[in-house]
Symmetry: C2
Subunit: 217 residues, 2 copies
DNA sequence: AGGCGTTGGCTAACAACGTTAGCTCCGGTG
DNA sequence: CACCGGAGCTAACGTTGTTAGCCAACGCCT
């Protein structure tokens, strides 16, 4: 995995195009897909160099050794310091997790917006799902982290989750269909990551069936 | 909540009708829905009276006080014994969780098979999803428990997960579409339980959009 | 009736976890 | 030169899952 993902996210600026708000009210019927970007990309919070280092280490630790290895002591260890010293930089473990979740949301948002930009009405849904799947499979433990708890919305960068989910709206042109598609992708990824589909299943076909269901016919 | 769910599950026998296996190979085109039951209902493992008591208490504890309250000490407390004594009956906490997950799978399977039995080709998908949602919302913490970890398949009653997922096949008539529908329902429930849809969303409409996507048109 | 093994409780304890309190050292600034 | 804040440290607390070892009660077999 790319170990400097946190740094990349913190550095990238990605001017998000803001589209005419009229597109929102247009409804689904006969609308051109994909819809243009609307929500502005939220600005990542400023972080000290040391904090960035810590989060990089945490991400690497999480992906390399699994969620149960992401402990404050182990995190300190890979950084060459003791666990209590981490509290000089971060308020606690939930803050580490929240920061990692934000990383995931930023990466997912960037990746999905980009693929929607590059797609036409016929293949948006399929390509969106493929990219969603590809991302989650590439960072399985990080993705799962985003799914565990009610996600302390409070200390999440405002607008981040909306912006990162917007590609689903852009792909469907209808907010509720967008939510359904997002949820479907989320569930399919989780089951695939957990290895819970019937053994021997050709998961490509499962994803294809999903794409077909959500493709306007 | 019904506190004796574990007992109910352990007691119920529910002779599952076994259908002609030919239906499996029939494919999706022009097939009558819903498909008949195929997989036999697995037989619940025999449990001592005390173990059943413990699992009932665990389920009640989980639903009443949340997952973070389901600790061995707290579980012992509500039973009037000390935590180590639990190990005279169960090998550890994972065993408690696995047993609860099995409870959920049995209940879900029963509920979904029943609703598919009572549905016609036009309304199967919608009613199946509605029932899935209703169950999960009624036992939120239990449902979440089934989603957390890779689900130690080893010590799960053989065939249980397949049988409990079969209603999705019965509703769609095609295995991969069934997997996609199951995954979509799973994801939507998880996001709803986690409160992660946009605030103010009318979730009924999200579920309706999902049902529409999976309804053969 | 008497020994005896199994069942099911107990306490004490361990390792690992997140976290807090309080000390120290070191580098920059007045 | 004084000092002050940043960033490390150790010690410790409370919780968690879990193990070891002890003991009382009950059923059973001779």
């Amino acid at each position: 995995m790319s170990t400097d993902a946190v740094g990349v996210v913190a550095a990238s600026t990605a001017a998000a195009g803001v589209a005419a708000a009229g597109a929102v009210a247009a409804g689904a019927a006969g609308m051109a897909l994909p819809v243009a970007r609307i929500a502005p990309r939220p600005v990542p919070p400023a972080r000290s160099a040391r904090v960035t280092e810590i989060l990089q280490a945490a991400l690497r630790l999480l992906e390399d050794e699994g969620a149960q290895s992401l402990t404050m002591r182990r995190l300190g260890e890979v950084l060459g310091i003791r666990a209590p010293s981490l509290y000089k930089h971060l308020p606690g473990k939930p803050a580490v997790e929240t920061a990692l979740i934000e990383t995931a949301l930023w990466e997912i948002g960037d990746v999905l917006h980009r693929v929607v930009d590059a797609s036409g009405p016929d293949d948006v849904v399929g390509r969106l799902l493929a990219e969603y799947r590809r991302y989650a499979l590439g960072r399985p433990n990080l993705y799962r982290l985003t799914a565990v708890d009610p996600l302390g919305r409070t200390d999440l960068t405002p607008g981040l989750e909306d912006w990162s989910g917007e590609p689903f709206y852009r792909a469907t042109g209808e907010p509720y269909l967008a939510q359904a598609l997002w949820a479907a992708a989320h569930g399919t990824v989780l089951l695939e990551l957990a290895g819970r589909f019937l053994p021997g299943s050709d998961l490509d076909r499962t994803w294809a069936a999903l794409a077909r269901a959500f493709t306007v016919r």
